[in-house]
Every structure is written in C-alpha cells, then in structure tokens.
Symmetry: C2
Subunit: 449 residues, 2 copies
C-alpha cells in the first residue's frame, strides 16, 4: 500500500462536480473572448529553463518548478526544462517564433494551467489556471478598452455585479514618485513597497519606503499623490511633467473608449502598482471586496516580445484567475443548480442476466435520441438498482422486464415524483424528454438537442 493517496501539496483533484463548475466558468470565458474576436492558442506545459529564468524577478525565479534532465544526465541534478509560470512569456516566445504566420494584429486567448511553488493560501494554489487575452501588434488604446470590456462581460455573465476595475499607468506612477522627490534610482525599489499598500496599509508602506532609502517627507508626499483619484487633481500635481500628463491623458482615453458597460466599473487608482516588471503603460486589476488580491489583472508590455525577437512589438493583455473566480463564486453560491445534477438523464436497469443485451440495445437507442444514459452494470434486485439511480440523482429509470418485452414496451419511472408508466418502445424518447423538461433538476443543456 502506497504511502499517500493525497495529491501533492498545493494541488487538487477535481471530482465531477468540481470539473463541471470549472467547465462552466471556462465555457463562459471562452465564449466571451471569442465574441471579441480573440483566437485560441495553446503552448506546452514546460519551456526550456532559460526561456523562463530571469523573467519574473528574484522572487519569481525561486517559484519556478524545474525538470531534471533525463537518462544518463539525470545524475547531474541539472534542470533543462521548467513548468510554465504564466501565459505571457510563452506568448512572447510564440510571437517571435511564428511571426510570419501570424496576422498583423494577433489577438489570442489562452486558458491553461500554470505552476508556481508558492505557499498555498485561500484561492492560491501551486497549479492554477489563467484565462488570458492579449493583443499584439498595436499601441492603440482601443485594445485596453476592449479587453476591459471583455473581462467585465465575463464577470457580469458569471453573475458578478460588484467588481471594481482599477486602472493606472506606469508613467503616472513614475511621475508621482518624481513629483514627491523620490530619486529615479529608487523608483523600482519604491514600487515594490507601494505594491504592498493593500496588504500592509499606508503606515506600513511609509515605513518600508523609508527603510528603502526614501526620505520621510518624500514618502509622505508620495503616499498623498497615490491617494488622489481625480484626473484634475493629478494634473495639478504633475504640472509641467510631460510624461505624467501624457499618462493621465491615456487613462482618460481608455476610460472613455471603454464605453458605458465597463466604464462605470473603472476607477483610476494611482496606487495600483502590480508586481511584474515587464509592464510599460496602462496597468489594470479587477477586485471584489471579499477577496484579498484580485480576480485578474493585466497591462501593456511593449518591450517583452522584443527580448525574444530582437525588435519591439507592442502588446497588451489581461489575465483572469480561474481559481480566484471559483473561490468567490462558491462562497457566494453563484453556481447554477443544474451543475449539481446527475451524471445521466436516464438509467437503464438490468432485469436479468438473460436480458442484458436488450437493456444495452435500449440504452443505445436512447443515446441516439440525444439522452445521457447510464446502464446499471449488474443484475441486482430491481429495488437496489432504483435506489442506486436515486442516490446518483438520475431523474428517471427505464425497465425492460419480461412483461414489457412481450408487449414491446418499456416501463419508465420518474424517481423525483415516484410516478411510473409503461410506454411503447418507439415513444420512449419523446416521453422521457417530456419528463425531463417538465420538472427539475434540469438536465444538462447539451443533452437535449
């Protein structure tokens, strides 16, 4: 007997109801992304280790799962491959590799797992799915607006009506730091501290900025700037700072292009920093009150592809976190009831060893009619078979007993009402569909054509 049958730490097994919930969310994400003209891309689970190392900062490097060389090289203890850490770096590699085959504006979505050796927490796992959209090949702010509209629509379709889209710009952050008197040499370090504002609060960030070498006055002034949320106030504060003014203009454009649907969710928030270092323009994040961290985030990264290709190609993307979404949806009971339904619409019973072929033939017939059909595998007592179907939440059972066979009928019992009726075999499919449509639990949408 093996030591443990649990999945490795930070990972999970998904039993049928879990998978149905995940597929429900993924199905809506995919449908909305496709409505926006994004096309699917998939990349391998692992990349050459040098493709990933050094892309995600010091902390990120430590969280990469590395794969041992194989065969005679295994003993060296060296790694040549590493598990995908996000979907953005693989996209950048793909754009560099296939540029001649890709359209001028490549809009792709990608829904795949990534792996990070992070400390597990609520909504944070070592294997988790990202649902990314990225548009490559243009600096047009239509992209930012379109992506915010797409991910907002995903969340609305899933039933979220209280999320906030936080929007900021890397150049605005830099300008606010300049205006506060933080020297350029400390900018990157200061951003690491600012990124913790949600977690450690204003006083915590003030202390950390000072610890990183920013003066007390500059730190306080910086935090004042980050707390502003009116473009007019920001414009006043950054008077004479051309890049700062430019960033404010970009954010206003994105806000107005996003239109009324996503627009009413958008809050320009100069304190939003986002950890990843490759962002170069707008940065965005979606939050809800009952989840620390975010449901997703993204931004513009106009230089990342260049590190693979040798020349810059502008790009912008947004990533929704599947697990984060599912954690909140589960706690808020937002999943439709039908996902908890049975694995089949009908269970065909086995009357006796001799009639097994008849039961299987009936099952085939019902399946051809579009129903999901389970067959009880053994010739147990019929009551035991009924009980089993009931415990499996299968709404109907079909019996081909000796009498029914003689009359070319089948007996159908609705386990939800207890009603039973014999119908001619040719009428079984419409009769069952009628029963299934008449009352809950609803069968899966896909099972009734």
């Amino acid at each position: 007997m093996a030591a443990s049958t649990r999945p490795p730490g930070g990972t999970r097994d998904f039993l049928p109801e879990d998978v149905r919930r995940r597929e429900h969310v993924i199905g809506i994400v995919r449908e909305v992304y496709e409505r926006f003209g994004y096309e699917p891309l998939e990349t391998p689970a692992f990349e050459n280790v040098e493709t990933l190392l050094g892309r995600y900062g010091e902390e990120g490097n430590k969280l990469i799962f590395k794969i041992l060389r194989r065969g005679s090289h295994e003993a060296s203890g060296e790694a040549d491959l590493a598990l995908r850490y996000d979907l953005t770096v693989p996209l950048a590699r793909v754009v560099a590799q296939y540029q001649s085959e890709l359209p001028r504006f490549f809009k792709r979505y990608q829904i795949q797992p990534v792996w990070r050796a992070d400390r597990p927490a609520r909504g944070r796992f070592r294997e988790f799915y990202q649902c990314d959209i990225d548009a490559v090949g243009t600096t047009s702010l239509l992209v930012e607006a379109e992506q915010l509209e797409a991910v907002s629509e995903v969340l609305e379709r899933l039933g979220f009506n209280d999320f906030v889209v936080r929007l900021n710009h890397r150049d605005l952050l830099a300008a606010l730091l300049r205006a506060a008197g933080v020297p350029p040499s400390l900018e990157a370090s200061a951003l690491v501290a600012i990124d913790k504002l949600d977690k450690i609060g204003r006083a915590g960030v003030q202390a950390e900025l000072v610890a990183r070498g920013v003066t007390d006055t500059a730190a306080a002034s910086c935090l004042d700037g980050l707390g502003m949320d009116s473009p007019m106030g920001l414009e006043g504060r950054l008077q004479g700072d051309a890049r700062g003014q430019y960033a404010i203009g970009q954010l206003q454009s994105i806000h107005s292009l996003a239109g009324p649907f996503a627009g009413r969710r958008i809050r320009i928030d100069p304190s939003l920093a986002r950890g990843l270092s490759y962002y170069t323009g707008a940065i965005m994040e979606i939050t809800v009150a009952d989840l620390s961290g975010s449901l997703g985030g993204g931004g513009r990264y106009d230089h990342l592809i260049g590190t693979f290709l040798g020349r810059d190609v502008p790009a912008c993307g947004f990533s929704l976190g599947l697990e984060r979404i599912i954690v909140v949806m589960t706690e808020r009971s937002m999943f439709p009831d039908r996902l908890a339904g049975g694995a089949a619409d009908v269970m065909v019973t086995i009357w006796s060893h001799e009639t097994r072929v008849d039961s299987l033939a009936l099952a085939s017939e019902l399946r051809r009619g579009g129903l999901r059909v389970d067959v009880y595998p053994e010739a147990d007592k019929i009551g035991k078979q009924f009980k089993y179907a009931s415990s499996r939440h299968v709404p109907c059972v079909a019996v081909v007993g000796d009498d029914e066979r003689a009359r070319r009928e089948i007996a159908i019992k609705d386990l939800r009402t207890g009603e039973q009726k014999s119908v001619p075999r040719g009428e079984a499919i419409p009769f069952l569909k009628g029963l299934l449509q008449a009352r809950g639990p609803e069968p899966h949408a896909s099972s009734i054509p």
Copy 2:
C-alpha cells in the same frame, strides 16, 4: 535576444487553427462519453514521484519527467514530484483517496495531457493528450462492451469508418503460452517479445522468443496459436485448460454484448499483447491501416487500485490518443471546413480617430446580438482595413462613416461577394445573420444562437 524561440523538443505550440481542430475532437469525445453516463475528473499535472515510479515497467520508469526539489533542496539534485505519465494510475490514487465520496460504480472520463520522455516520431510526442474512460467497481463485462461501443461511436462521429477493434484476454495469452510449452517463468518475458509482432513480424518475434530462452518448437507453436482467430479453433487448442476456456467465453460475451454497432468492428486477436503490466482480463486496441501503433487501447485491471487502497477494486478502461486521431484526420483531410474559418463573423472598421467610440459601441451591440466581432484597432485607410479583414477570412465588414452616422445607418460589405449595402442600425444584426447563414464559410456553430 534569447537563444531559441522553438518549443522544447517533442512538444508543440498550437496556433488557433490547431486548437480548433483539437477542440473539435475533444468536444465530440466529451459529448459521447457523457452520453454513456461517464463523469469528468481532473488530476494535477504532477504526482509525488513515488506514486509513479515502478508502475510502468523498467522502460516506463526511464521516460518519467521528474521535478527538482525547490529552494534550499534544489542543490541536492533530487526529485520529489513527477509529471503524469498516464491517467490510469492517478485514477487509482483518486479512487483510494475519495472512496467514501464516490459512487459504488464510478464511471469517469478524463481528457488531459500526459508526458513521456520518449523519442518523438509520427503521432508520438513528449506531451500528448489521452481521452480516457474507466469504470470502477464491477467485474461485469457490460463495462467492456459499453466502452467499446463508446469509443467506436467517437470514431464514427469523427468520420472514421475503417477501424478495427482488436480484442484479447490476458488469460487467453497465458493459456496459449502454456499450450505451446513456454514455461510459466518465461511468460512475462515472452509477452514483451509478442508485443512487438506488429513492428518486427513473425520471424522477428520467433528469434526474440528464442533469445529469451523459449525453445524453437515452443516459439513456433506459440506463434501458431497467436495466429488463430476463431473461437472454435482456440477452444480446440486449449481443451482441458479451464482458464483458457474461461477467457474465450469472456471474449465471446463481450463480443455479443457489444451489439451490432461496435460488434461488427471487433476482431478477436490472440496476438494482441499490450505493453502495460497491470492488465488482468480483457485487453483491447483500435487500429487503422495507415497508422502504425493504435488510435487507442485499454483493458481490465482488477488489482491496480488495490496497490493504493490495500484491497482490490475491479476496474476497466479505454484510452483514445488525441494526437494519433488528429494525425490521421489531418492526413485524410477529415476536418470540417468551418474549422479553418475566420476568427470573427464581422470586423468593424475605424472611420476616423473621432468615431472610435461609435465603432466600439456598434461592436458591443453586434456582440450582444450573438455575433463574433473584431474591431480594427487603428484609423488606417479604409481600403487597408478591408484588405486586412479579407486576409483574416472575416466574411463581413461594417463601416460607420460620417454619412452613415448622419442617417443612423451602417454600411455592410460581404467580402466574399463584394456586395455592399447600407442598412438602418436596428436591422444590422438580422441582416448580418442572414448574410452569414446564406453562404460559406460557415460561422462557428456557437456564434449564432
């Protein structure tokens, strides 16, 4: 600039058309499996290394991708995790872990990638998808029959009409070896040789059997037995061998239970060996003439779960190889044309920088009407925008020019026919749907509700 932008050896990037083909196959597999009452399961990409080691034989062990310990343990060069090698061992672990939550007859399907450090070849990759169905908890042969029917239906639905289902039984193989005079101590070794029959032919296997210690006469007799395909002939050869007779009876039962649909595909083939050591009963494989190796295979394994649980639970499963199926379908041009269609039904153009908001609003409106809508991101010359849409195989473009705005109309051009028409804005959706349904390329089925 990074060294290489190619994916790691033996793995592939899937560009949009590749993903659509994969999703087309997976969609049919999933739908058929669900019709048969199977429920989805997903397990993590990696397992604890001890869960996998020693499960797949000497050769298999070498092909497992192992993951380095992290943090301060990385320098040890040791592996604590390993990538999933198949979907059967993880299922056995899951059944042991969650037995109290699972139904008495657990019928699950699982469609996920597995990884093997094999030498890449046609249809053989280091990352590939398996599409498995397994039924746990019964020794009933209804399971074998049902699974053969399910996978046959998948293949028929995909357009295969020439596949053969090879069916054998581990006990029949053992009986034929006994009858030929192969000593029990050489049975396992002889099966390794027999498994190569398709690759190295009769003379090759004869030589290898002899090299493994089987006498010339026994080897020849063994190969004669393996060449028989009538149950009557086999019964004669195995007279007095109770286990052999039992195995023949089981194969005949499976054949008759499978019914006419799958039944006409089944060929009882005593030479089918299958590599994996955990099989205990029926073994099955599906082949087509133009692919060496198989499209899928499976069998009964009544002891594997016991190695995790401490008591046996019977089980039987079948695995279809996604990549094998796709290789043959691609070579035979079996994919529907619509999979090569454009990423959108309509592309909305940008008339001028000032009208961007109007174009985005139109795009939102069309999407709400159920269409897949791309928006050209820049205010380029309109001819250039049309050309781009055409190159992307988008069938229609919509223009909101200054005149159209004034008349509250939009101009719609069908790029396939060159016809252009202005329609009142409120009629745009039905007009576009009419165009899309009237002539190919067909839009994606999901895009027209």
